[in-house]
Symmetry: C2
Subunit: 347 residues, 2 copies
């Protein structure tokens, strides 16, 4: 009556993306409405000529969030925003979400009210409707699952596979801040646990804390690109770090890339905290996650237009696949880019 | 830095549905495409005149399933079917699903292959496409979250709020089998745990085991109703037991109901197991869950048509709200119906 396991391959050996590729390789498509399936920020459905995107995320206490420093209202807000970010990254406008949770009995109705206040705030900010969900109990902690639905802009959905040689590589906002916020909070949590009389010292670090605790999805960038009629050739949101996302885009598009360290946008406060912690801020930008900025490629011809936005940085360009993935350091050295993005399945 | 909780109301006090009502009462709708939100088997979206339904479910190991007797392949199959059942219950045809999971490191790649074999089998059987999901780690056990999407039949979606006085109350298939299967498996598990040398004795109980371990969604009933142009006035699937579902329909429709014990369809094998366990089989039908049959109401004028299906039983009729909810027993006694459906939040 027990589970049989003749051979045992640890899931951590494969990692999330290879695991999903492996598990779903025999799945076939049965419906004409399924335009794009597994493997992008969201799936794309088509019905009567209009395209709908669907994306889903699962957030597990102790894996994705720590309630000792992320208040429940922030968790509610963030878990919605993280999903909407995937919808925007398809060149779409989010319209609906479902919100499901499994929770242990340590959560009271009052605690859940706070969580839902955050969900409601995100729904209001982004004009999204909560249309359903499921609520059940868990044996340990809180698990949240959200599915977001959106409508693709008239210019069509933008996947990960359309980057062409010579396209410019762009990112919105700045990178590495959320990761520096995480390191700061973990430092303060350790101090607090050792001596609860010492209150956390977060002054002067409001920016990186906000990046960690109340991230926003870049609706403004998508609106602006559509207004300017700039057609991105590929796009995704940066949830696992710039390196990891560049790997996804270049692999799916079968191209290479060259980016320049000096062009990677990093906030002064992020740089300051990196200095305090004696690490290179570019490492946070490349390998830290959770910034929820957009990474996208555009044709070279749109360079003039793109420079009109102060919120967008051109950090490099797309090359031939055989040229590989390169980072040109501030000192002019050429280094191979490595994908060290977060693997939620690694122990 | 810790969660603050001035007042503490246990979520079990409210129950799942009251909790969701409470938490979502301040949510507003922002999009014209949101036709029907929280509170039915699925939400309904409308775009360019075509209606899409969306439903989501979360399944937690130790709460919803027990892997000591439910093999992973069956779990994969069942978790998809359970969601599709919600789509059919809206008078819709499922087209896509997303499948997310959080898993502890006791699951190997080989174990997940079995799980996905079951998911794939359900997708093939019902012509549904797997379009996405999320895979991450959990601190204990397996948690599955599925969102199903479907297209509403031309006759329009059928909610829970349209039952009218004098409508006939119908159910498909038979009820109580899955619950009897559950009691059987728990009995055998107990015997096995006490003495692993004794192999489970399931002979002659294949039917109720199948009801528990490989339930099917009633696509055939929806197809037939549409072919016969029988327009149900309300519908839902029976996942928590007939009583509980009748409460939902009569509450949402603001009506009462009278059903007859002798008309509730119960399989002979279900009756036999109930007798072995010295319980009334009608209790399993009323309060046991997981049969995934359809409960629906139709206008009286369709009585002749509905009798042509051997798969559908008329079990009673809709009354005025003030007449309450009644069960007429085999001996002719009138008893109030009580909703003792499963509360996943009750400890």
């Amino acid at each position: 009556m027990a589970e049989e396991q003749q051979q045992r391959t640890d899931v951590g050996e494969l990692g999330e993306f290879a695991l999903i590729d492996h598990l779903t390789k025999n799945f076939e498509t049965h419906n004409a409405s399924t335009l794009l399936g597994i493997g992008d920020d969201a799936a794309v459905l088509e019905s009567l000529g209009s395209q709908t995107v669907v994306s889903t995320d699962m957030l597990v206490e102790g894996v994705h969030f720590d309630l000792t420093y992320l208040p429940l209202k922030h968790l509610g807000y963030k878990s919605v925003v993280v999903n909407l970010s995937d919808i925007f990254a398809m060149n779409a406008e989010p319209t609906q979400i479902t919100f499901s949770m499994a929770l242990s009995n340590r959560f009271s109705v009052e605690a859940l009210e706070e969580l839902y206040d955050g969900v409601n705030l995100a729904c209001q900010e982004y004009g999204v409707d909560l249309i359903g969900g499921d609520t059940t109990s868990s044996q340990s902690g809180l698990i949240i699952s959200i599915t977001a639905i959106g409508e693709v802009h008239e210019s069509g959905y933008v996947g990960r596979d359309g980057a062409q040689e010579n396209d410019l590589i762009c990112v919105s906002g700045d990178l590495g801040g959320a990761y520096m916020g995480l390191l700061l909070m973990e430092r303060e949590k350790k101090i607090f646990n050792e001596n609860p009389a010492i209150q956390p010292d977060l002054e002067g670090n409001e920016y990186i804390m906000k990046r960690l605790m109340k991230p926003e999805a870049r609706k403004d960038i998508i609106t602006w690109l559509n207004e300017q009629k700039i057609q991105a050739t590929s796009m995704m949101d940066i949830s696992d770090g710039l390196s990891s996302e560049l790997f996804h885009i270049t692999t799916k598009s079968n191209v290479g890339c060259t980016i320049y360290e000096e062009k990677i946008p990093i906030h002064l406060d992020t740089k300051q905290m990196a200095m305090d912690l004696q690490m290179a801020s570019v490492t946070a930008a490349l390998n830290g996650g959770e910034d929820y900025e957009l990474l996208f490629t555009i044709p070279q011809g749109d360079y003039e237009k793109i420079t009109m936005s102060e919120e967008i940085s051109v950090i490099g360009h797309i090359t031939k696949a055989e040229d590989g993935r390169k980072l040109i350091s501030n000192s002019g050295n050429e280094m191979p880019l490595e994908a060290q993005g977060w693997n939620p399945l690694k122990k």
